[in-house]
Amino acid sequence: MAEVISKEHLAHDVHHAPHEEHHHVETFINKYIFTTDHKMIARQFLFTGIFWAIIGGLFSVLFRVQLGWPDATFPVLEKLFGNWFNDGKLDPNAYYMLVTMHGTIMVFFVLTAGLSGTFANFLIPLQIGARDMASGFINMLSYWFFFLSSLVMFASLFVPTGAASGGWTIYPPLSALPQATPGSGTGMTLWLISMALFIGSTLMGGLNYITTVLNLRTRGMDLFKMPLTVWALFFTAIIGLLSFPVLLSGAVLLIFDRSLGTSFFLSDIYIGGKALGYSGGSPILFQHLFWFLGHPEVYIVILPAMGMVSEILATHSRKPIFGYKAMIFSILGITILGFIVWAHHMFMSGLNPFAGSVFTLFTLLIAVPSAVKVFNWLTTLWRGNIHLNSASLFAIGFVSVFISGGVTGIWLGNATIDIQLHDTYFVVAHFHIVMGIAAFFGMFAGVYHWFPKMFGRFMNETMGYIHFFVTFLGSYVIFWPMHYLGMSGVPRRYYSFKEFAAFSQYDDLNKVISAAAIVVFITQLVFVANFIYSIYKGRKMTSDNLNPWNSNTLEWTTPVEPGHGNWPGALPTVYRWPYDYSKNTTGPDFTPQTVPLTEQEIKELESHA
């Protein structure tokens, strides 16, 4: 089967082989800015993502200061952030703005663009043996739409009435009426424009990823010889393509309600002493449109991380990923189920109880493919020969936090339990651990693992260890106690708990959480310092050690810093799946995909068939 060479692949290779000869003139602008090289676009996504992660993380520190020390004043913060901190104390409107922007930035700009944008761009062509994306130009547009979207969102922070403050879910009527909250004025308009641009960016990227995976695989690279990273990124792109347009429709209708006086989401509203003329709309409709993207969005965030973790765990434990096909079908299962569970975010919205039962069923079913993945990762480590480094540590940390955050999904996905825990800190704990921390861990693992391929140098391992252990412990210290707050009924999105006797008993834990959040945030700055330092001064990857992790996948067959086109000569030919680790009993403990099958292996294949 591996020997079958498709004509398309051959033609494709012939067409591209002379690429090196007609080198176009490289200027600063077309190499670094308006570049069509997928590797440079990946770096652009990564840098922008890191910028946003710092902003998003900083915002969480600012509102954690309020929650941890509600009575203290911090004149220093007033100097730095002006009227967000009047008299050194965070203003409630600013608090809700920071919470909203933290969510928006982290979910969309960091974990969608920064994570999947970076690694889909970087890994898909390199791991399937393609010269570049199917359309380099659309790929470039995808980044620049994201950049524009970032500019608009960043600008919204400086609007006098503040950026959007209705929560990252921007439920109308709060987000539709400037009378309801100052952030729903210009700030919300900019939020919607920014998201519309962002969705454009995601769709262009996604179309490219799907087309590239389906059409540009090198000779011999059957679908079932693709690394799990590519599988995960492929399904991620499909999810994005099918769900983001629905959010766009919601956003457009919300823009109509806000500026044209339509009533898609508004009805019978009396605010500020006035009855408004909206009639017949439904705020619940918006929630359906939002969560039809919003839930698949969490899989957009976590699937690329899962894919990278599968790859990294196999490579560094020197063992084939256990149950390769089961891993692919579990991703497929998660993808399909992910589309029919959105209303579990709406159990308490007045939803028909029958719908609640259906969404409970599908939601809990997702635990099955997720459990399969966890058990397969564990079995991959079992009897491995595990090399520990920053990349594999973060991959192992991923499995730990994915379990910790995943099991509470079985609580919240159950409509009955959700009645009690809905909109409490239990929810905050759950989704931060399972899609925040886990996705970040996957991203870090990916950055440490592929940094040498991205920049031709290694990151500093000592700083990597500090980064890992502080972040790993710190994340548990931040988010684990939030389960207890939730079990005590403490609601999320509260500026202060003083008003309620039931909620004000956690001053001590809130201080611990805030202190840990500050420590973890500063540790991320260590990562950023390491990242920037290593780009210029890190230990160099030399051309006699092109494959530092002894990995099987194709990206390590390229030169130290591959040019546009990735392989200087012909594209590599693939003969085997990417997980032949420790298959040989002697010699190297890995067999790259480019190594032809031995006669014995061919015999085995034939006997199986």
Partner: protein, 350 residues
């Protein structure tokens, strides 16, 4: 100055870590591969220790903090939810403990050794089938239990339920009771104005004995139907000790019912806290005052409730006390036509 110092401290801290790490990295490169196996082993040990510390601390802290969790459910519905939580707790804790132990044990046990080669083990159909089917069975049990209880919570409201009309707006609650006829006066959004924010139709006779209350007084062991609406943005009526909540949606009335089982006085004894009050809060972000929407709930005996409601309805009915006098006053002043009388009704002060 202090702002500058703060930033400087953080920057210096990062630089210190950077410098130390540079030195450590240099040392590692100089030593070469000679002690790679040992340092890898140390790292494995640290990782496993950290993993087990997290596991033990995460479990042990449950017992430290469980006294602060919500007390016994104060409603029948809460008891059903609690039992669902207990079942789920059992299964998820088991999975959490087993998988975390395996994960961190493997990390140490199978750390790199130059004498060994990893075990070639790409697949095992039976094993994979087992850990697809077993979770599927456990989840089926949880789904069945969950859906059963869910339908119990959202079952038809019993006919003997007392009714409270809760209206949410930025940033307060309005509690309206149906009075002695146990029927609320009709509401009509077109009648809403600043004097009649709820848009109560005072021409509807059912509204005449309705009264407003500061505290939510409800009887124990009697079903309570909460009719919910919102005037401006989304809110959520959260009765935390009764473990029930429901969104308040402008334009779309919602409802929930529950049966309180513990009076305020009994709960004070249970918690040994004479100050204890049941509280109602808002659980859906509604703007800058979201965290301030509090009402006290008083659970009393059915007799006490009936007595209180009867007195309120007789002495405090909004129509007789506020709307009617105003109507009378305007009638006395001028010989009103029926249309201006209606206008007076709708603008009666709230």
């Amino acid at each position: 100055m202090s702002a500058f110092l703060l930033i400087l401290t953080i920057v210096l801290l990062v630089i210190v870590v950077l410098q130390i790490s540079k030195a450590a990295e240099l040392a590692r490169v100089l030593k070469g591969d000679s002690d790679y196996e040992e340092s890898n082993g140390n790292l494995a040990l640290i990782t496993t220790v950290v993993g087990f510390v997290i596991l033990v601390a995460s479990l042990w802290s449950i017992f430290t903090y469980k006294d602060r969790f919500l007390p016994v459910p104060a409603s029948e519905q809460g008891v059903w939810i609690q039992s669902m939580i207990n079942w789920t707790m059992f299964f998820t804790c088991a999975v959490y403990i087993i998988t975390q132990i395996l994960l961190f044990w493997f990390v140490y046990k199978y750390k790199f050794s130059s004498k060994r080669r990893a075990f070639w083990y790409p697949d095992n159909g039976a094993l994979e089938l087992a850990w697809t089917v077993v979770p599927a069975i456990v989840l089926t049990v949880l789904v069945i239990l969950g859906i059963q209880k869910w339908f119990k919570v959202f079952s038809e409201t019993p006919t003997d339920a007392i009714v409270v009309d809760v209206t949410a707006q930025q940033f307060k609650w309005t509690l309206r009771y149906p009075g002695n006829d146990n029927v609320l006066g009709a509401r009509d959004f077109s009648l809403t104005n600043s004097n009649n924010e709820l848009g109560v139709n005072w021409n509807d006779k059912n509204s005449h004995d309705d009264f407003f209350a500061d505290d939510m007084v409800i009887p124990v062991n009697t079903p309570v139907l909460v009719k919910i609406s919102a005037l401006d943005v989304l809110h959520n009526v959260n009765l935390v000790h009764f473990r029930v909540k429901m969104d308040a949606v402008p334009g779309i009335p919602t409802k929930m019912w529950f049966r309180p089982t513990i009076t305020t006085d009994s709960m004070r004894l249970i918690l040994n806290n004479p100050e204890f009050e049941y509280e109602l809060n808002c659980s859906e972000l509604c703007g800058s005052g979201h965290y301030n929407m509090r009402k006290v709930i008083k659970v009393v005996s059915l007799d006490e409730y009936k007595k209180w409601a009867r007195t309120q309805s007789l002495e405090n009915a909004f129509y007789t006390k506020n709307v009617q006098p105003e109507l009378a006053a305007s009638t006395a002043q001028t010989d009103t036509t029926s249309s201006s009388k209606e206008a007076a009704i709708t603008t009666a002060t709230n």
